[in-house]
Amino acid sequence: MVKDILVVKDLQVWFPMRTGFVQSLVSKEQRWVKAVDGVSFNIKDREIFCLVGESGCGKTTTGKAILRLVEPTGGSVKYYGEGKNALMKDMLEEAVSKGKITKAQADKLMADGGLDVRSLHKHRMKKLRQKMQIIFQDPYESLNPKQSVYDIIAEPLVVNSIGANEAEREKRVVKALEDAGLRPPKDYMWRYPHEVSGGQRQRVGIAGALVLQPEFLVADEPVSMLDVSIRSEILKLMLDLRDQKGLAFLFITHDLGVAYVFSDRIGIMYLGKIVELGPTEDVVKHPKHPYTKALISVVPTPDPEMRREKIILKGERPDPSNIPPGCRFHPRCPFVMDICRKEPPQTVFVSEGHWVSCHLEKGEPVATEAKKS
C-alpha cells in the first residue's frame, strides 16, 4: 500500500467577523466567516492531489492552513514525510525530558509516524516548512522586483541559515534553477524579474520552493496567470519533479480541465467543504454531485461544434459568513429537493475511493475516520 504523506482531518479555519459598536451592544454573538469548515483528505507519497472550486470556496485557505500560513481553528493535519523524523524525535525527546509525556507515550507517537503539524512551536514549524513549500499564483506579484533571480532563490537559504558560505549557497541555487528548467542557470541568475517572461517567472517561483529540497508542495493556481500555450510546460515540469524527486503535490485550481490532465485524485470543494472526492478520471467521467457536473459542463473547450448542454449556475461567490442550512449547495442546485433545505447530506461511497455528499446518491456511508481511500 502506498504510504500517506499528509492526512488532513476535519480541518477548520474560521475567521472572526468584526461587528460594529452598536451591533456589539445588541448581540453578544460572535459571527464567523467559515472559510474552511470541516475538510478531510489525504495525500499519498508521490501523489498529485487537486482541490477544485470557485473563488471563495476555501481552497487556498486550506492550502495555507496546512502550512500554517493561516492558523487552523480546528481539526488536525498530520505529516508523514521522511523529513519530519529528526524534527519529531527532537521534539519528543524534549517533551520526555521535561516530563510532559512518558517515554512509552513518546515511542507510541513516534511509531504512529504522523507529526501533528498544528502542535508545533513556531521555530519547529519553520524547520518543517523547509519540507513543505508553497508556489504562489501570480508570478508577477510574488517576486520582489528589486531582487535578482539569484537573491530571490537564495533568500530561503539565508533565512534558514542553510549553507556554510556563499559558494555553497550558490551551488544550491544553481541546482534549483536547473531543476526548475531554467538552463543554463548562469543565464538567468543575475536577471531581474522584469527581464524574464511569464513562464520563466513561474519557474523562478518554483526554483525558490525547490532550493530547500522539500518533499511536499502546495501549488496555488500556478498556471492560471499564464498563457494557455505555455501552461503545459509548467505542468510537465511539476510532473517531472514528482517522478524524479518523489515530490507530492497539493494542487489548487479553479480549472477542472487542468486538474483533469494533471492530477491523480480530485477533491471538489464548495463553500468550505469537499463535496466529492475520488480518482481524477472517475470523478470527471462519472461525476455524481450536481456541482461537479456543472463545473465540468462549463470547462472551456476550443471547439465551436461542441454543442454541449451547459449547466450555468445562477449567482456567484456564496457567502461563507452565511452558510445555508441543510446542503450548502441547495440554493444553486438545479436538482434541489425538500430534504436538501433541511438536512445536510450524508457522505457515501459511489465506487472505490470515490465519495460524494449529496442526497441524491445512495451508497455505503463514509465514516469520518475513514474518509480517505
Binding site: G199, E233, Y260, T301, M306
Partner: protein
C-alpha cells in the same frame, strides 16, 4: 460595405532600445453585427491593434501606417473633437481587468451616466433611467445603481463594465480579455451574456483573448495573431476543424480537453521574438517544428488557402486559380 476596414495597420512604440513594432501590417474587415475574435499569446499585439482602432495608445505609441476605415472615416487621421465624438458613442471598449478599470470613488451609476450625458446631451434623470435599463440588460439588479465598485464581486464588476460599454448604443464594441481572471462558472455566465447581447443588439464585436475556447464560443470569425502579424484568418469553425498554420495547430493542441482522454496537452516551446529586432523570415520559425531554411530567409505572405481561409506559412500552398 464593411463597418470597419483595417488595412496594413502598423502601430509602433518608441522605447529606449529602439522602435518596437507591436503591430506590423495587419488587415481585417468587420461587418455590421459580426463578431470577430483576435487570438494570440501575451505581447502578440492584439490589444495594441484594438487600442489603435480607438486611438487609445499610450504616449509613446503611434500609428506608423495603414488605414482604419470606420463608417467612412479614417480613424488613423481623426483627432480632437471629431475623435471624441466617435469614442464611446460609436466604438466602445470593455477593458481588461474589470477590477481596476472602474473608478473606485465614484458610484457605478454615475460612471455609466457620464458618457450618456456627455454624448447625448440629456439630463441626469434620463441618463439614470437609461443606466438602470442597462443594468437590467446585463443582469444586475437596478437597485444597485448607487453602489460603489468595491461592493460588487468580480463577475458583477465585469457586467458593470459591459453595461458601461453599451451606454451610448455603440455599433462596435471591443472586448479585451473579457473573461480572463474570472472563475470558470462566471466566465460561462459572461460568455453567454456577451453572445446574447451581440445577437439581440446586432452589435459588431471584436473579442480579444489568449483563450481560444472563449473565442470559439463568441465569434464567427477568427484571426490568429503572432508577433504583430495575422498568421491565420477564417471562420471559427474552419480554424478549429482544419487549422492550417503550425502556430494555430499548436494553440489548439495546448488545450486540455476534459471530454477526451486524460493526456497532458502539448505546449509550444520557446518564446515569441523580440519585436524591436524582429527576425527577417517567418516570425514563428524559431518555435516551429516544420521550419526549414526558407522560413529563416523570407517572410511568408498571408494567402488564401481555401475559400475564405487565409494563412501565412511557406508550407501551406495557396488555393489554385
Amino acid at each position: 460595405m464593411a463597418l470597419l476596414e483595417v488595412q496594413g495597420l502598423r502601430t509602433y512604440f518608441k522605447t529606449q532600445e529602439g522602435t518596437l513594432k507591436a503591430v506590423d501590417g495587419i488587415d481585417f474587415n468587420l461587418d455590421k453585427g459580426q463578431a470577430m475574435g483576435l487570438a494570440g499569446e501575451s505581447g502578440c499585439g492584439k490589444t495594441t491593434a484594438a487600442l489603435s482602432i480607438m486611438k487609445l495608445l499610450p504616449a509613446n505609441g503611434y500609428i506608423a501606417g495603414g488605414r482604419i476605415n470606420f463608417m467612412g472615416q479614417d480613424m488613423a487621421k481623426v483627432t480632437g473633437d471629431k475623435l471624441r465624438a466617435i469614442r464611446w458613442r460609436d466604438i466602445s471598449i470593455i477593458f481588461q481587468g474589470a477590477m481596476n478599470a472602474l473608478n473606485p470613488v465614484k458610484r457605478v451609476g454615475d460612471q455609466i451616466t457620464e458618457p450618456i450625458i456627455l454624448h447625448e446631451k440629456v439630463d441626469e434623470e434620463v441618463a439614470m433611467k437609461r443606466a438602470k435599463e442597462l443594468f437590467e440588460l446585463v443582469g444586475i439588479n437596478p437597485a444597485r445603481i448607487r453602489e460603489y465598485p468595491h461592493e460588487f464581486s468580480g463577475g458583477m464588476r465585469q457586467r458593470v463594465m459591459i453595461a458601461m460599454a453599451l451606454a451610448c448604443k455603440p455599433r462596435l464594441v471591443i472586448a479585451d480579455e473579457p473573461t480572463t481572471a474570472l472563475d470558470v462558472m462566471i466566465q460561462a455566465q459572461i460568455i453567454s451574456l456577451l453572445k446574447n447581447l451581440q445577437r439581440d443588439l446586432d452589435l459588431a464585436m471584436i473579442v480579444i483573448s489568449h483563450d481560444l475556447s472563449v473565442l470559439a464560443e463568441t465569434c464567427e470569425q477568427l484571426s490568429i495573431m503572432y508577433a504583430g502579424k495575422i498568421v491565420e484568418r477564417s471562420s471559427s469553425r474552419a480554424v478549429f476543424e482544419d487549422p492550417q498554420h503550425p502556430y494555430t495547430k499548436g494553440l489548439i493542441a495546448a488545450f486540455p480537453n476534459i471530454h477526451g482522454e486524460k493526456i497532458m496537452p502539448a505546449s509550444i516551446a520557446g518564446n515569441p521574438p523580440n519585436l524591436i529586432r524582429a527576425p527577417v523570415g517567418c516570425r514563428f520559425a524559431e518555435r516551429c517544428f516544420m521550419a526549414k531554411e526558407i522560413c529563416l530567409k523570407s517572410e511568408p505572405p498571408l494567402v488564401e488557402v481555401k475559400p475564405g481561409h487565409w494563412a501565412a506559412c511557406h508550407f501551406v500552398p495557396p488555393m489554385k486559380g
